[in-house]
């Protein structure tokens, strides 16, 4: 994960450098109106970089620099007025809105893509369906053997991302606590915290005892996705673009970009382009779930 993060930083830096080196040659002086600063969530950073690169072909005069650092980092930068667009894999908090308004900035939310979180097991594992309640009990340590869920007599090995991951926090709130704000349950202490999404895929693909979760874009053929039901009496649904957009798949979240209310026209143009079919195709290519053009009438 570190290496991937470093690589993203480097790419961001390179993009920034090319932007810097290109501007002095332009006859028009480099002004804020041709330059977009974009910062935030590490989940979104690869997508944002791909968009920034593609947008160079659409509007070569607009330079976009993309950096990661986490949703909180991006929103803090937006609040202090140092970036034009903040990427976030969670909704902005009320405190952050207040802090922004105190600085005379009104943050406007744009849903730019969706991300499904797939629950995965080893292909040898006969279990193919789990309810949210069952997943929660597994990760809380109440269920410790697959036979309790109708599977083989094998111990359950729980895998998770590290606590600094936005995906970890989302999984904690929406799956382990079942979306209940007053619920203070946490991961069982013997949950393995792996430093990367790839680490989870590799352990699940190799170990028949393991269960893990990962963004849909990371899932490979070497692991088996579990169909998930909101409650035991509702239908079990596999994650896919369709089931996420129809709202049937229960573990999915929106990904956001936040810009200020009085953003310059080029920022608004860029955000509008992101919802275009061409840009949403990049979303699909990177394994995220695109927003249907019908629902994206912003």
């Amino acid at each position: 994960m570190r290496i991937a993060a470093a690589r993203r930083w480097l790419v961001g830096l390179l993009l920034l450098l090319t932007a810097c080196s290109a501007t002095p040659g332009d006859s028009t002086s480099p002004s804020a109106s041709t330059y977009i600063q974009n910062k935030g969530s590490d989940t979104i950073v690869n997508l944002a970089l791909a968009w920034a690169e593609a947008y160079q072909k659409v509007k070569p005069e607009v330079r976009i620099s993309v950096t990661g650092g986490g949703s909180g980092t991006g929103l803090t930068a937006l609040i202090s007025g140092t970036v034009d667009i903040a990427n976030a894999s969670r909704k902005i908090k009320t405190e952050e809105i207040k802090a922004a308004e105190a600085n005379g900035i009104e943050p406007v939310e744009h849903v730019i893509a969706r991300d499904a979180i797939a629950v995965i097991v080893n292909p040898q594992n006969p279990i193919g369906e789990l309810s949210l309640e069952q997943i929660s009990r597994i990760y809380r340590g109440e269920v410790t053997n697959w036979s309790e869920l109708g599977g083989e007599d094998r111990p359950i090995v729980r895998l998770s991302r590290e606590t600094n991951s936005g995906t970890h926090v989302y999984f904690l709130e929406e799956v382990i606590r079942l979306g209940d704000k007053d619920n203070k349950e946490i991961f069982s202490a013997d949950t393995l915290l792996l430093p990367s999404s790839e680490g989870i895929i590799s352990e699940v693909s190799e170990n028949p005892n393991a269960i893990g979760y990962d963004g849909l874009g990371y899932v490979t053929d070497h692991v088996k996705m579990v169909a998930v039901a909101r409650t035991a009496d509702q239908p079990y649904v596999l994650p896919s673009v369709e089931s996420v957009n129809s709202g049937q798949y229960p573990i999915s979240r929106d990904l956001y970009m936040y810009a200020r209310g009085d953003a310059p026209q080029i920022v608004l143009d860029y955000l509008a382009w992101i919802l275009s079919p061409a840009a949403q195709q990049i979303v699909t290519d990177l394994g995220f779930v695109p927003i249907l053009s019908t629902t994206a009438g912003k």
Binding site: F187, A189, T191, L194, N207
Partner: protein
Amino acid sequence: METAKSERWITWIVKISGYSSILFVSLILFFLVREGLPALGDVPLKDLFGVRWYPIEGYFGIWPLIFGSVLVTVGALLIGIPFGIGTAVYLSELAPAWIKNVLKPIIEILAGLPSVVLGFLGIQLAAPFFRQFLNLPTGLTAFTGAVLLGFIAIPTIVSISEDALNTVPSGYRQGALALGANHWQTIWGVTVPAARSGLLTAVMLGVGRAIGETMAVMMVTGNAPVLPRSLNALFLPARTMTATIASEMGEVATGSEHYHVLFFIGMVLFGISLAVNLTASSLALRSRKRAERLLS
């Protein structure tokens, strides 16, 4: 006149480089304490030495991390010491010259291998192998970490032990053989005890190498902050102090409770390595004195 002046300059430069290490260590200590000590004010002592580590919900118990580090390090030494010293004895006392010429460079290559490469091999080969061979729920355990750390510590232990064995005067060996001792008795009864202080230094540097190692450990131990309840814990996942700092420092807000606690863990690590070094040097000193007394 001219030479005296330049000599004074050189003396100064050498002196400054000598003192600089003291300066650096004290600066590091100062920074660690400044950032780590507020943790004691932020988190009640009872919670800080609690048994649950889950920082994003305010559980800051560092016992599982301390025990995780100790478990992995002790395991690494159980593997590293016999193999390391055994290899050094073989190289210095038994191996024919041509084997020595082949083995030594290979061990040095092992020493230069980046730990992330070993970690990668650990995740891809060692962890699946141990899971099947020992019939464990998962191969990502303290034991897998200990084996990798053993491999990381072995080159350090071998090269320093071998140097120590080489400095044993050949008169000792000849004397032992002349008294009728066989080859094995000479090695075990004379050469190895005579090199004891050097061997101890080798082991202690191996400990230092193992307890400070981060990357390989983070990749293969599973990082679950479980408090060990029995020796069986060696074959369960564990989370070390170094892996915790490495994986959580990146995202933590400067000045927050969590930030201070991570620095506090750094202080604990500093304290442990200081204790290891002090023990090593005092033991080395004592055994040298005894050896001098016996031989003079």
